[in-house]
């Protein structure tokens, strides 16, 4: 019975004008996104080949992540050049997007398309599922048959999910296949697995919004009312709530500004240089002190910053949209956690370089170790929060579907 209703929904979608408009829109957006982001990745890759340190140079530079085509996240921040000087790290420009339009508009990566457009599309598929049948009079006819309300609702959900997910996956798979033909873009087996997980996460995200659409549809008598309510909720979930956490957390956690941190570093440096000029201690001990105090400042800043980020993330998780973004960016290796791990690795590298420099001051440039960074393994990423975010998204979707069932069994079909 569920299959009969699901097939009816698929057929209804295939026969509707709305379906083709929506699928065409999704196809155009995904194709455009892949084209723009692949170009962006290739430009940053070309930049990397220019700024890549020569063997032995104490510079930490990370190549751009191919998965940034789909989820750019903090990849640009991680792809800067971190030069280890006598007393610390100097951050230089890295592989910057050549596309200055990105500064005016959000980066049109795959996650953005999914987050904003696909969520809206899923709502458009779900908003009138019950109210339209009620308005059209077909709900009475359906329920005059031996089909339980749960079966009807599940069939509708499944049919619309398939109608939405299959064309979307086909369009995305085709886009990925085209990208893979580009010799400049190479995905490792691990990255292919991560990409597959992002697609699974995207399906959970679509399912969440479809469930939300159906829930509101069961709460209203008219499809038009359902649409207005859903547009309001959508704006709240996609734009307002994911930014609210940051604002609230800033009021609760006091984090010094980057400028204040920089001034403190400068004070440490000036103090140690003056002490050296006065003849107190040798240069090596001052360098050690500057480095240690800078690290302590950085660590203190990092602790406060991490607290701010953790609080912001937790508040933002009120909207499952934020959970989707956190999970997807972490899986892609462009998330907040990955950036933290990367920065810790840069600090470790700096300490290794400084240690070597102090141990043998006459060492040549070629003697410094090369910086190497690999994304955290997938199991660590999942255990570090991505799995929780994905589960939270799924739970919210199930919860909304459960609620819509609860409402629908009491729905007045007369």
């Amino acid at each position: 019975m569920t299959g009969t209703i699901a097939r009816k929904e698929i057929l209804a979608n295939l026969l509707s004008y709305k379906f083709y408009v929506v699928i065409l829109l999704a196809a155009v957006l995904v194709a455009t996104s892949f084209f723009i982001m692949t170009r962006d990745y290739k430009e940053r890759l070309a930049d990397y080949s220019l700024i890549r340190p020569k063997p032995g140079e104490p510079i930490a530079v990370n190549p751009p992540n191919p998965l940034s085509i789909f989820s750019k996240g903090l990849d640009e921040a991680m792809a800067r050049s971190f030069e280890v000087g006598p007393t610390g790290i100097t951050v230089r420009a890295g592989q910057k997007s050549g596309n200055t339009v990105f500064a005016f508009f959000p980066t049109p990566d795959f996650l953005y398309i999914v987050r904003v457009v696909l969520s809206l599309v899923a709502l458009l598929f779900g908003f009138d599922q019950v109210s339209r049948e009620k308005e059209g009079g077909t709900l009475r006819l359906i329920l005059a048959n031996p089909a339980s309300r749960g079966t009807v609702l599940l069939g509708k959900w499944l049919g619309n999910f398939v109608s939405l997910a299959v064309p979307f996956l086909l369009v995305t798979a085709l886009g990925i296949a085209v990208i893979s033909l580009d010799p400049a873009v190479r995905f490792s087996a691990d990255q292919v697995l991560r990409l597959a997980l992002i697609l699974v996460l995207t399906l959970i995200y679509i399912a969440f919004f479809l469930s939300l659409g159906i829930l509101v549809s069961t709460l209203t008598r008219q499809a038009s009312s359902s649409l207005v309510i859903l547009l309001f909720i959508w704006a709240l979930l996609v734009f307002v709530l994911p930014n609210l956490g940051t604002l609230v957390a800033r009021q609760m956690v006091d984090v010094p500004s980057v400028r204040a941190l920089s001034e403190k570093r400068q004070q440490v440096w000036t103090r140690e240089v003056l002490l050296r000029i006065r003849g107190v201690g040798d240069w090596a001990s001052h360098v050690k002190t500057i480095s240690a105090e800078n690290d302590a400042l950085e660590a203190d800043y990092r602790v406060k910053f991490d607290r701010l980020v953790a609080l912001s993330k937790n508040i933002n998780r009120i909207s499952p949209v934020a959970s989707f973004i956190y999970a997807a960016t972490e899986i892609a290796g462009t998330g907040i956690g990955e950036e933290g791990a990367f920065k810790s690795e840069v600090v470790r590298y700096k300490n290794a370089v400084l240690g070597k420099r102090l141990a043998s001051p006459d060492a040549g440039v070629a003697d410094y170790p090369a910086f190497r960074y690999s994304c955290r393994p997938l199991d660590r990423v999942l255990a570090g929060g991505a799995l929780f975010d994905a589960a939270w998204l799924a739970v919210c979707g199930i919860l909304f579907f459960g609620l819509s069932y609860f409402v629908f069994v009491r729905y007045d079909v007369r």
Binding site: M1, T4, I5, K8, L11, A12, L15, S16, G136, G137, T138, R140, L141, I142, L143, A144, N145, P146, A147, S148, D412, V413, R414
Partner: protein, 246 residues
């Protein structure tokens, strides 16, 4: 007929809505195989409420509906296997063809192994024009949609049929065709409960006619009894007495 087990039975059925309105007041009726029972009454008399209770769209305040001996409230899904329903204004899926609509509702009714020809046969039986079989329903007239509604009821092949003002808004020819099909179904042994405003057609097709007023069945006559009485006059008298009472 009366010695057979009723397909449709309302046993002391009452329905009071949340706003306090008593829509149905201790209704008792039975519809047996091969019988057409017509419920007459003004708007708000409780005809549609009765049908909604049989379909388990609303739970009764007191009393029980039985379909083929099954308590509708206790086992609605089992009960609905034995009932087909045609509403006042059959609304189907406009983008689907007549056959696609029929196929969907047939499957929903449990008929999963039907071939294209089975659908065509049923649509011919309800006098739907051949050219309409594979046309989208959104272009259908009300009469055509009602015919397709009956086709849906026919293909389900349930022993009981509920009709909620099915001839309302139909032109005389379409209404006559509709009643001819009902007569055929009755002859096949279906138990038909039809709510209607149409006194003339109720007398023509009904084996029994009941008049409802303010949720109560105030009169019931058999076809034989009505041969010697003027149903139109009886109905109007009941309505007038109701007006005087208020």
């Amino acid at each position: 007929m009366a010695d057979q087990k009723p397909i449709l039975k309302a046993d002391d059925l009452s329905m009071r809505y949340e706003d306090g309105v008593l829509a149905l007041d201790h209704l008792n009726l039975e519809v047996h195989p091969g019988e057409v029972y017509c419920l007459l009454g003004a708007n708000g008399a409780g005809k549609t409420t009765t049908i909604n209770l049989f379909l388990n769209f609303i739970p009764p305040t007191t009393g029980t509906c039985f379909i083929n001996g099954i308590d509708v409230t206790k086992d609605p899904l089992e009960a609905k296997k034995y009932i087909a329903f045609v509403s006042e204004n059959v609304m189907l899926y406009g983008n689907f063809t007549a056959r696609q609509n029929l196929d969907f509702f047939a499957k929903l009714g449990g008929k999963t192994a039907l071939a294209k020809d089975d659908y065509y046969r049923v649509m011919r039986r309800v006098s739907l024009q051949e050219k309409a079989f594979d046309q989208r329903v959104k272009n259908f007239s009300k009469g055509m949609r009602q015919k397709l509604g009956i086709a849906i009821a026919v293909i389900k092949d349930a022993p009981g049929i509920l009709l909620d003002e099915p001839t309302s808004g139909l032109d005389p020819k379409a209404a006559t065709e509709f009643l001819e099909i009902m007569a055929e179904l009755k002859n096949e042994g279906k138990a038909i409960l039809m709510s209607t405003h149409d006194i003339f057609r109720a007398k023509e097709i009904g084996d029994r006619v009941g008049i409802m007023r303010e949720g109560r069945l105030v009169m019931e006559r058999t076809r034989e009894e009505l041969q010697h009485e003027d149903l139109n006059k009886i109905y109007i008298d009941y309505m007038k007495s109701a007006e005087q009472a208020t």
